[in-house]
Symmetry: C2
Subunit: 587 residues, 2 copies
């Protein structure tokens, strides 16, 4: 077979930027963005992005591989930057708005951001972060550009140097020539993990990875044309699980909201006919416990498709969700996999099963998206990397490979080398493979409790606790134990009216009748609310520290040494990995 070389007609670098160019051509008059009284068409969004890219390029001298950071909620500007920044050849770094100033300073420092876009409400936080940064850094600080409310008074820009987002757009030439993406391996975005146990790590996506992940999640979720997508999931989580780019690919409408209160969300759903949204299961708690829930239930005669992740949706929740007019699909992923890696794809034959069976199936993490070539569960503690049997019982580490896996961690060779092994990305999650090929997560490697030589999956114990009606939140961690090494310690938050009445004994009795004896927690601690990180995930590290205080019997000060004692039999390298935080950020 002779060489038929690539040419510009048959080879184009894969990049999500083509989704916007295409949308401007084929969906030009459709509504791209709705935000309060602001409405844009795809033609307008395209022009605005071109203007912004041109302004970044010519006025602010942003060039290839420069990092542009943004600190903003889900407003139109945040959406536009997902195209405009890479259109200028630069790399988009969205920062979690729930971080504190020192952490934001850390990210700005590490990423060497040239520019920082800040929503007007977050100017105090950003200014504070820049002050922190100035203390540590000699180089020039990033230029700050304030994003004012579209129709609002410009109150902040004079205070912080005069650069304002809309003025920048107005100043950009929409016909200016922009850099062309020729290498699809070029970086498009930089997303920092939330770093609860270690310094945040900067996950780098390529244009190719972003493009393929976007298409494959659209397929996996079955998102059709003209979706009306509610931005309930922060865009700073894996670029909105790729739906920043995906809604352009489908010619959909982005419903931008500043807050995710029940009131705002129900109003958006009703006003704009929302068809799709993403969120962590916890979002449903405040959606359903709200005053507006009853009204919504009466009004709704359509179904909102919800993609949920971060933690498996509890059974009780899934039943409620259905009654409220939501249809849930469960996904599993992490920043390093450009969002979703597994989706619990529904099978028609499951419709014949009992409600309980269906819920059990729906809570499984599922099957790989199409942009991964392979997902497996392997014995990673040894050197062989052998696959575990597909029996739903044998546990191993969930490992991935394929085009939606990140390029690596920015300026962190050591961390990058630790998560890539033998051609696989190690997720740090422990799971099983069911005979039908669906993967179910059992725990984070570091959350496994080893009691008397038995592995206890904290998630299994938590599942039982969740099934207890009065329990709102539950987390189980290892508590040092003189005889067994470790033993489970449960932390629960219960519903307001029962908080004063429910006793530890009642919960323990329930556990004893619903799980093997060795898994029953030795202690139940009642908290008003469980500690969470900026991504809304329960901070088990904090709970583990608390559990050490409640330690049963002899004190062992270091959990890792306990674990190490058992794992020694296999391979020390596992522990290096298990101690390192691979963020599961879906949610």
């Amino acid at each position: 077979m002779e060489a038929l070389p690539k040419n510009p007609a048959n080879f184009a670098a894969l990049t999500p930027l083509t989704f916007l160019h295409r949308a401007a051509t084929v969906y030009s008059t459709r509504t791209s963005i709705i935000y309060n009284h602001t409405h844009f068409t795809w033609q307008q969004t395209h022009t605005r992005c071109r203007r912004l890219a041109a302004a970044l390029h010519s006025l602010l001298h942003i060039s290839k591989n420069d990092v542009v950071s943004v600190l903003a909620p889900n407003i139109p500007a945040m959406y536009e930057m997902h195209f405009a920044v890479p259109m200028a050849g630069a790399i988009l770094n969205t920062i979690n708005t729930r971080l504190d100033a020192p952490n934001i300073a850390l990210i700005l420092h590490h990423s060497e951001a040239k520019l920082l876009f800040v929503d007007h409400q977050l100017v105090p936080l950003a200014s504070n972060a820049l002050r922190h940064l100035r203390e540590e850094k000699e180089e020039p600080l990033p230029i700050m550009v304030v994003i004012e409310e579209p129709a609002g008074a410009t109150t902040h820009k004079n205070a912080v140097g005069g650069l304002e987002y809309e003025e920048l757009i107005a100043a950009g030439d929409p016909t200016a020539e922009l850099p062309v993406i020729t290498d699809e391996w070029d970086a498009i975005s930089l997303n920092y993990t939330s770093g609860t146990t270690s310094a945040p790590k900067g996950v780098v996506y390529s244009h190719r990875g972003a493009y393929l992940s976007t298409l494959s999640l659209l397929l996996q979720w079955g998102m059709g044309t003209e979706p009306v997508y509610l931005w309930s999931l922060p865009m700073f989580h894996c670029n909105g699980w790729t739906f920043t780019w995906g809604i352009a690919a489908r010619g959909g409408t982005n419903v931008c909201i500043r807050s995710t209160s029940a009131e705002v969300m129900y109003k958006a759903i009703a006003d704009h006919g929302v068809t799709h949204m993403c969120c962590a299961p916890v979002v449903f708690n405040f959606l359903f416990d709200s005053r507006e829930a009853e009204d919504h239930k009466k009004k709704t005669n359509f179904v909102v498709e919800v993609l949920t992740g971060g933690s498996p949706p509890p059974a009780s929740l899934l039943e409620k969700v259905k009654k409220m007019g939501f249809h849930v699909t469960h996904a599993y992923g992490m920043t390093e996999a450009t969002g979703a890696a597994l989706v619990c794809e529904w099978q028609a034959e499951w419709n014949q099963l009992s409600a309980e069976q269906r819920t059990r199936l729906k809570a499984r993490q599922g099957i790989s998206v199409l942009s991964l070539t392979e997902v497996d569960v392997k014995e990673t503690s040894g050197l062989t990397m052998e696959s575990v049997p597909r029996d739903g019982k044998a546990v191993g580490e969930i490992v991935l490979r394929g085009s939606s896996v990140m390029k690596g961690y920015f300026k962190n060779e050591k961390a990058t080398a630790e998560v890539f092994r033998d051609g696989w990305f190690l997720t740090g999650d422990v799971g099983v493979v069911h005979p039908d090929g669906y993967v179910e997560i059992k725990d984070r490697i570091k959350d496994i409790i080893i009691s008397g030589g038995e592995n206890i999956c904290s998630v299994e114990v938590e599942k039982v606790l969740h099934s207890y009606y009065e329990v709102l939140e539950a987390a189980v961690v290892a508590m040092p134990h003189a005889r067994w090494g470790e033993t489970p310690c449960a932390f629960v938050a219960v519903k307001g009216e029962v908080a004063t009445k429910l006793t530890e004994d009642e919960i323990l009795a329930y556990c004893r009748s619903n799980m093997p004896r060795f898994m029953v927690p030795r202690k139940v601690v009642f908290l008003e609310e469980l500690p969470k990180n900026s991504a809304g995930k329960i901070e088990k590290k904090t709970l583990r520290e608390m559990a050490r205080e409640f330690k049963a019997g002899m004190v062992k000060s270091e959990r890792s040494s306990l674990q190490g004692a058992k794992m020694n039999k296999k391979e020390k390298t596992t522990m290096v990995h298990s101690e390192q935080f691979v963020e599961q950020v879906l949610g």
Copy 2:
């Protein structure tokens, strides 16, 4: 931004082969193929393909870049070879079964096929082709492997050398190591255009192009999970418009059929709950005019999604189709674009329009699939390649670019150079862009009739003829004319019972009241059936030859010289292109 190099965990060559590996893992027990009494699961299909690939590799010494040809209808073996042949590192060449022996010999010669798989019913045709080949060729003939009916008696294999498909599968080791695709630009298949006006040209697809085209057509058609796909479209057309690979990606069921008679198709739809099928509009004619149609109409309480292409579906047909429980989506494409390039994506707001408006919109070719970066309509006769205005009126040549455009024509540098110009692939089709961005095809460049300096789109005249109730088929071509240069000549086939009654005058009168005077045909010729090529497309070349016999007024023997006279004003290069055949093979 530092280099974060590719590694096997984050970079995998894009290839449709991953769809089968994934299906075997995550859809292992689902039905992959149904053919009469044969049923396979995805696990079985995967194992069978591995066995066949191993046998090709180790027993028949097929290696990288060897061409493996196949001459078969839509049977399971034909499907399996779409994976097994590239799994052996080889290139699949499916041959149109409607070709005659000399043409098949031509393809075998040009492709240098090492192996020829032949369905048992086509052994006489293949043997005949090999005889032709032996006369022209010194090198060894391709090895012939007969595909017997799964449960049938082996009647042919002894006669032709002893190699049989199932025995080859049985002999292959499913655990043998197979070549790994490391360069996604490697060729996966070779599809010959049907070559009505020139020698067939071999269109080469890359693994990358096939992968991306598959995903993007799944998205564009909105094919969800678990489709039950009826193989009404020959797999030898652009690898079944990529659905050979796409059904594996979606974990669907392939319903294989040997013939596309109304009886077989209705039975398959009823027996297996078909959800999707592809076909040319002409297939509906024999589906609806059949004895079985009435039965089907009574039984059907579900909708079959149909992707149709090759020619725009006539209005009258679309109405019938709906009543029969089919839902049609219209696509436009060609072998060179790996099947569909444009899909007429439906817009919800069109549901408010009248039936007539909806039909008109549905007949447009539509918007680009996601694997194309751009589709445009350009003035290609000049040197500027300027885009025509998006007004639905200005005509130009439809041009494409992006990852689903072929690598080029096999061993044909000249033809390859002619269709790639300034970073675009020239389709040879004339079209307009409507203000909403939807493209509508007007004609093939060479089918444009130039009468008294006016361009007449033959398709426009044909549309009017089709709207005449009694007309079954219609085609309009240029007839030389002493005064006007050319003038339209119509060929029609009418319904049996009216054939003897309908007169030329009646049709001409109808035309005069439904189109501008200059477009009205000068002559109407009644034929029992219009001449068609092996792909079922009307052979306008033959009709043009006939029209020359009926020439009105002074004879001009060469149409190209007439056209050339006009085009001189612009640029001679157009004519070079317009005379060259770019097959529009959808259908």
